[in-house]
Each structure stands twice: as C-alpha cells, then as structure tokens.
C-alpha cells in the first residue's frame, strides 16, 4: 500500500518541481525588473521586458486575433516546408545509401551544405522568389532537407546486417528486403532524424519570416521591434519556443515512445 502511494508521488513530483522552478524564475524576473527599472532606474522600461508586460501583450494580441493568426500561418508554412523537406530529404538519403557513387561523392557535399546556417539562404530566396510565401518555404526546405537526407542515409546504413541476411536466406528479393525489412528496421532512427529535421525547419522558418512581410510569428516579432515594444518581442520568443516544444512532444516524442515500447527498446 505504502509502495503504491510513493510510486504515485514520484510520477507527480518532478512535474510539480518543474512548475515551481518555472514560477520561481518568473518571480525572480519580475523582481529584477522592479529593482532595475522601478527602483534603481538602471534600465529604461522600453529596453527591459517584464512578466506583467508580457502578459499584457499576450492579452492584447490574443484579443485582436493577431497571435492566433500568426501561430496558424507559421505552423502551416512550417508544415508545408517540412513535408517538402521530408519527401526531398528522404529521397536524397535513399539515393545516397543505394548508390555507392553518390555516397562517396555527394554525401560530403550534402554534409557541408547542412552546416550552413539557414539564414544564409535568405538572400538567395528573396532574389529568386521575392518577399513571398515561396521564399520562406524555400529557406525552410534548405534548412532541413539536407539533415533529413543524412539521417535517412545513416538510418538505413545502421540496420543490422543480420536482418538483411535472414531475409535473403528466406528467399527475399532486393525489393522485398527494402520494403519488408529495411523500411521497418530503420524506423526508430529515421524518426529521430525527422524530429531533428523538424527542429531545423522551425528555426529556418523564423529566419525566413523575419526577412519577409507575410503574417506569422517571425513577422510579429519584427513588428514588436518596429514599435519598440520589447514585451511583444519577448512574448513572441516565448511562443516560438512553446510551439516548437509542443510539436516535438505531441507528435515526435509520442511516435517515438510507441515504437520503442512495441519493440522493447527501453
């Protein structure tokens, strides 16, 4: 009986602890603002955000519908860009795995391009597409497709050879080996790769959005700067983090967890 209670406690406790910690950080932040801005006058109010100010921004942007529209637009754009990246990246990754020539000669090139910060694609995309949706999506795709390609190549390459051997000696054709073995065997690593690809896509999206004038979180961030409203800037940054975490947890983590549980991979 006592064991049951303590087990329950341990499930709730870390969450509660995290919440209290967060609350402490916010309280400290408000205190810092109070001391630094109101009492000592070290910082100007327009240069220092405060929890209360961020809250007011939140209420204002939610009531006007701006925030929701920005989140919706950014998510949609991010998803479109990410899906294109997944299709293109996985195809490229598969080709690099399958053809020795591409693996030897193209992979180093792809890895090099992958290290390029996505913001570097912005000038290119604006010259090609103007200040448009396509320009942002181009930046997203360039920011994440190459990492997905590398991850796909690795995921297939890391399939234990014994699975292939087992299938071949049971009479599998090359095509059956890919469809019935490799596709399934590489799934856990592939999903980790896609998860990483999403985080690259989300970052690239913001690089693209701050450069153009389409409605979205990045644009709302820039509007905050233009209005010298540091609370709005802070609010949007927090929202960007939260949406990123939400997609990661809701989609990728739960997918990962279910696959790992089914296969007994801790």
């Amino acid at each position: 009986m006592t064991e049951k209670i303590s087990k329950k406690d341990t499930a709730i406790y870390p969450l509660l602890q995290q919440f209290l910690f967060l609350l402490g950080v916010v309280a400290l932040w408000q205190l810092l603002y109070f001391v630094g801005v109101d009492v000592l006058d070290i910082w100007k109010p327009y240069a220092m955000p405060s929890p209360a100010g961020v809250w007011k921004s939140l209420v204002r942007l939610v009531e006007s519908g701006t925030l929701l529209a920005a989140i919706g637009n950014s998510l949609l754009r991010g998803m479109i860009g990410f899906l294109i990246s997944v299709a293109a990246g996985m195809l490229l990754g598969f080709l690099m795995e399958h053809f020795r020539f591409l693996h030897q000669n193209m992979r180093p090139f792809v890895m090099g391009v992958q290290t390029l910060p996505s913001v570097c694609w912005v000038p290119f995309s604006i010259l090609w597409f103007g200040l448009s949706e396509q320009a942002i999506i181009f930046v997203v795709v360039m920011g994440s497709a190459f990492s997905i390609a590398i991850a796909t190549d690795n995921a297939i390459r890391n399939v234990p050879p014994i699975y292939k051997k087992a299938a071949l000696t049971m009479g599998a054709t090359q095509q059956q080996v890919y469809r019935k073995v490799i596709l399934h065997a590489c799934l856990p690593e592939l999903i980790s790769g896609l998860k990483q690809g999403w985080s690259f896509a989300w970052r690239a999206l913001m690089s693209g959005e701050v450069m153009t004038t389409c409605i979205g979180l990045g644009q709302t961030l820039i509007t905050g700067r233009n209005l010298a409203d540091i609370n709005q800037v802070m609010l949007v940054m927090i929202v960007i983090v939260l949406v990123g975490i939400l997609i990661d947890q809701l989609f990728f983590r739960s997918l990962e967890r279910s696959i790992h549980k089914k296969r007994g991979l801790s």
């Binding site: 051997k165 009479g171 296969r263």
Partner: protein, 248 residues
C-alpha cells in the same frame, strides 16, 4: 540428390573473416552434418558459402547438380543471434518467409501454428519478440526456418548464446524434430558434445592447406545419451582431433 562442394576455397583480403581451403564435401538428403573446429578455422565462412551469402574464390558449390549463385529459401539459415524482427510479433515472424513466397494467407496461418505447436509456443503467438526468453526466441527462429521446407537447413551455432540448460533442452528438441522430419541439416557448433549428440557425420575443420581435417561418422542409435560409453569415446576422439593443432 544432394549438396556438393568441389574444391571450394574462399580467402579474404582485408576483412576479419576466416578463410576455408580446398573443401570437398557431399551432403546427402536427410543427413545431419555437424561442423566443429577451433575459432578461426572458417566454420561460419563455410556456412555462408553454402547459404550463398559469400561467393567462393575458387571451386563450385552445387545443389542437386546446379551451381549456387546467391542466397535462397532452399537453404534457410538459422543464426546464433535469433535474427527475429522486433517490429513483428511471434506469429508474424514465423510467417515471414512464407509471406515472401506469396503462400496463401490461410496456409500460412495453418503452417505457422503447426510449427509453433511443435515448439510448444502456440500460447505465445501474439507476444512481442522482446517479451520472450533467449531459448524461446531461438525456438521461434527454428519454427520460422522449418516453415519454408528448405532443401537444407543451415544452423550457425544456434544454441551457443544460450545458457547450458536451455541449450541442452533445445538440442534434445532438435534431435526429436529431426527424427520426426528427417530434414537435411548442416549444423555449426563449437561444442564437440553437441556435435556427437546430433550428427550423422562430424566434420572437423582446421587451419591448414585443406580445411577439412577429418570426417567422423557417428554410428550411435538415437536418441543418444551423453554418458553412454561409446558416446564418451566419440567425444574424446573428436576433441583430440580438434585440439591436435596449436591455437592460431
């Protein structure tokens, strides 16, 4: 008809695999052949050659008179590591080979259950692979291999990763199954006891100009018992041969 190896040699340039040299061997239908030898003598290489996973450097391997060009379901392999697929459950794993061959679903089900029953695993049909013990996994792997009715069953130290009790139980089960089905089996082991227990003929491999050092027919009635005087005698004789050559 049978499996024939003619002057088969396989050498490797760089990888850590072991070479085999000048192997001449014929395995008849329904025969149980065991291969023993020190590690490094090329036991697994020989199995991979027959499986078609490796190609001989020189010489030829023929199945019923036609040369082997690659892996195929007429020479199913059972590995030391069960090689079951973790994304499939027990029954799906057992059906895997039949599914590749496009056998009708109903027949797949019947045959899979038949072999799961033979292995006393029918209650575990819907279990995930990771929920099974090591011995159970190997029995599922054996069931999967048996469903394909291959011309020869190649077994690469299938019980050596298990604890002694489990491996003894499994080899007794394998003996029973072999007595019932008379499948042709090519079985690699590092345990001379296991070889004498199971085989019609024991092939002793060694590092030398000819990989096959000796072939010992085991003329004992089945089921065999490890403490019989003649069993112990065979065991001693083969052990001496295996150890004659100094460690590489």
């Amino acid at each position: 008809m049978s499996l024939q190896l003619k002057n088969v040699t396989k050498t490797f340039h760089d990888s850590g695999q072991d070479a085999v040299r000048n192997v001449n061997l014929e395995i008849k239908d329904g025969e149980f052949v065991c291969v023993v030898g020190k590690s490094g003598c090329g036991k697994s290489t020989l199995l991979n050659l027959i499986a078609g996973l490796e190609k001989p450097t020189s010489g030829e391997i023929q199945m019923d008179g036609s040369p082997i060009t690659g892996p195929g379901s007429d020479r199913v392999v059972m590995f030391q590591d069960h090689a079951l697929f973790p994304w499939l459950n027990v029954i799906q794993n057992v059906k895997f080979g039949m599914e590749l061959a496009g056998i009708p679903k109903k027949e797949q089900e019947e045959k899979a259950m038949k072999y799961l029953r033979l292995m006393q695993l029918e209650e575990y049909r819907d279990y995930a692979v990771h929920q099974l013990s090591g011995g159970m996994r190997q029995r599922v792997a054996l069931a999967r291999a048996l469903t394909l009715d291959s011309r020869i069953l190649l077994m690469d130290e299938p019980f050596s990763a298990l604890d002694k009790q489990t491996s003894n139980r499994l080899r007794a089960e394998l003996q029973e199954i072999w007595m019932k089905t008379r499948r042709t089996i090519f079985f690699i082991t590092h345990s001379v006891e296991e070889a004498v227990y199971l085989a019609d003929r024991v092939i002793v491999l060694a590092n030398g100009p000819d990989s096959v050092q000796d072939i010992v027919p085991i003329e004992l009635e089945r089921p065999r018992h490890v403490y019989d005087e003649s069993f112990v005698e065979y065991r001693r004789q083969i052990l001496d041969e295996v150890q004659r050559e100094p460690e590489k």
